[in-house]
């Protein structure tokens, strides 16, 4: 397809526009986090760091950040593992009840969070797990696994089936074939799924409010601020989280780039048939 420069420039400008749309509220939040007025209106008041000071010295905010970090890392890891396992099962096998299996894996996001929150609270409290961060990890894994599963399945649908078959035919055990053929192919997607599920868990507030009890995660605290206090602390927290996440994703991206550049680029191309003697 011949690339026409005018069209290409237009498309690039469009991408910038979309990014602006996505980042405009973040920019506004950043600006207002330094604003002296308690409510975000124009014109601006004076520059101040008091909201950051308030947030950083607030013990409950720090605690909730620690909770959130722990919960989201655990949920992300569990979800990616379970999601990939389910996607691989879907990719490899046909069996009776497969539709049901897939439905179980993909349905959690369809349940409204507030209802799932209450249902899980009632259910988990009968199991004696409610009010602990374990409960939040369980609940978040349930809702994050579908994302990991969908992403993994998407990537697996691009795998050349004959590669794995070749590995088996050459005598590899199924574990080894998985490890050396499928997983490297899926690795970038799995990292992406891990980050995505971590993000979903990081920002999830409705279920965490119910199930976490006194162990509040950061978004629950933000929801509390939003609904109970309305102060620029919200913006200060938002900006801090934003800064941390940029750092996180930058690290992940650079790690990924290095890994990818160390391998020869894999394309699902056919192995060149050798001429037979």
């Amino acid at each position: 397809m011949k690339a026409r420069p005018a069209l290409a420039a237009l498309l690039k400008a469009y991408v910038v526009l979309v990014l602006l749309f996505l980042f405009a509220p973040l920019g506004a939040s950043l600006v207002f986090s330094f604003n002296s007025d308690r409510f975000p209106t124009l014109p601006l008041g004076s520059f101040t760091l008091e909201w950051y000071r308030a947030v950083l010295s607030d013990e409950l905010v720090r605690e909730s950040l620690a909770h959130t970090a722990r919960v989201s890392v655990l949920s992300a890891t569990l979800s990616t593992l379970l999601g990939f396992a389910a996607a691989y099962t879907d990719y490899r096998h046909e069996f009776l009840g497969k539709r049901f299996y897939l439905a179980l894996g993909l349905l959690p996001p369809t349940v409204p969070a507030i209802i799932l929150g209450l249902a899980m609270l009632a259910y988990l409290s009968r199991l004696g797990l409610a009010g602990s961060w374990v409960a939040i990890v369980i609940a978040h894994t349930v809702i994050c696994t579908p994302f990991a599963m969908a992403l993994a399945r998407l990537r697996l649908s691009q795998v050349d089936r004959s590669l794995e078959a070749a590995a088996w035919n050459l005598g590899a055990a199924p574990w080894a074939a998985l490890r050396h053929v499928i997983l490297p192919f899926c690795a970038p997607t799995l990292l992406g799924a891990w980050l995505l599920t971590m993000a979903v868990s990081f920002d999830e507030f409705a279920i965490a409010w119910f199930v976490g009890g006194l162990h509040e995660t950061l978004p629950v605290r933000v929801l509390g601020f939003l609904q109970g206090q309305v102060s620029p602390r919200i913006n200060a927290i938002g900006t801090l989280v934003f800064a941390v996440s940029i750092a996180l994703v930058a690290v992940a991206q650079s790690v990924l780039a290095r890994r990818l550049s160390l391998r020869r680029p894999r394309t699902p191309a056919a192995p060149q048939p050798k001429t037979l003697p």
Binding site: F39, G213, E216, V230
Partner: protein, 374 residues
């Protein structure tokens, strides 16, 4: 990879400084506390466990209050009914919800002699809903009025003197509702002339509904706590139904041109109280807190609470407030010698907000949903 690259050195130093900066407050507090403070858990509306209210109590008793803030009594009831007993030592609730808490067996019985009821105004000695017969379950801590909240630059005082202003076509699309049916329906019920706005015969209930539906096209939105603040502050809404000084007071103190007025049809009174959670393992400490918050000093802090201000039931609290914060005492009309809020109550210009008596709460809620959809 390269050992001493200047950029990576710089980065390392910056990171160390940042880390130290973040850790400093934690180190400071750890150095100061000798014995670990006892923890007291509290289930409350936002702001009740903030430093401006509880710091004195925490210091005096070496306690750390750990709050779980809720938004809306129903979330609170659901949470508490599913949590193990004794999770929450202190429960702060609106009067309507205390009845539900008692019925659900979630609060301990209290001893009246433990609390300074004698210092309260006589009207508050036996607040309905806090007592079941002779048994006390909850202690009144603060109250407030609901009326016509308006933007003083857009709405005149004369216009704000009646709930009819909500239907004034001049303010089409700029009238908001606090998103809770009870106070808004109650206000319109008062407009319809019902002296007991929550005790409605079927005919009167129908008229109240019709009155509301007739003003629906004036309504610009239904807002929760945060949304109410935002809309009034940025001028999106110039009238807000179902709220009072507890919101406009905060905005006023921040310089916004808003006020609440008690209209001629009368206002509503909301009431907050504290109870001790059933099965709490620190009942002595919880009791000490309630004593603190009902003492004159605690009452002044409660009246001045940063999250939202309120009126206080303790007479000695009023005296202390006049002495320490005369401007706020004047603003909230809690000065003993002058016309004050107790006169409003005695003059029957306010009635208590309550659960509907002749219809079920579901009926009112279903109507509210129909009203939103209209």
């Amino acid at each position: 990879m390269t050992p001493s690259h200047p950029a990576s050195n710089r980065r390392r130093v910056l990171r160390a400084i940042a880390g130290a900066g973040l850790a400093a407050p934690m180190l400071a507090t750890r150095a100061l506390s000798q014995t670990a403070p006892t923890e007291l858990t509290m289930l409350a509306w936002h702001g009740h466990a903030e430093k401006d209210v509880v710091a004195e109590f925490e210091a005096r008793h070496n306690v750390r209050i750990r709050p779980k803030y809720y938004v809306g009594g129903d979330n609170m009831l659901a949470l508490i009914s599913q949590s193990p007993p004794g999770t929450y030592d202190l429960i702060q609730a609106d009067a309507e919800y205390v009845q539900q808490l008692v019925a659900a067996g979630q609060v301990e019985q209290l001893q009246p002699r433990d609390y300074p009821f004698d210092d309260f105004f006589p009207e508050f000695h036996r607040f309905p809903g806090h007592w079941v017969g002779d048994k006390l379950y909850s202690v009144m801590v603060r109250f407030g009025f609901l009326g016509v909240a308006y933007n003083t630059l857009a709405v005149s005082e004369a216009q704000a003197r009646s709930y009819k202003v909500y239907a004034d076509p001049r303010f089409a699309g700029r009238v908001g509702h606090f998103d809770w049916h009870l106070p808004s329906i109650g206000q319109v019920s008062l407009l319809e002339g019902n002296k007991l706005p929550f005790d409605l015969a079927p005919e009167r209930w129908k008229h109240v509904q019709q009155r509301l539906l007739a003003m629906r096209r004036n309504v610009g939105g239904f807002f929760d706590y945060g949304g109410t603040f935002a809309s009034l502050r940025n001028g999106q809404m110039v009238l807000m139904a179902g709220i009072g000084d507890w919101i406009t007071g905060v905005l006023e103190k921040n310089g916004a041109p808003v006020r609440t007025m008690l209209p001629e049809e009368g206002g509503l009174q909301w009431t907050e109280s504290f109870s001790i959670g059933k099965g709490s393992r620190r009942q002595d400490l919880a009791r000490a807190f309630i004593q603190y918050i009902t003492s004159p000093g605690g009452q002044v802090r409660s009246a001045m609470m940063q999250a939202y201000p309120a009126l206080i039931p303790n007479r000695k609290g009023w005296d202390l407030l006049v002495a320490q914060h005369p401007q706020e005492a004047r603003r909230q009309r809690m000065e003993p010698g002058k016309p004050n809020v107790m006169d409003d109550i005695r003059g029957k210009r306010v009635t208590l907000r309550a659960l509907p008596t002749r219809q079920s709460l579901e009926d009112w809620s279903d109507f509210w949903s129909r009203y939103k959809n209209a």
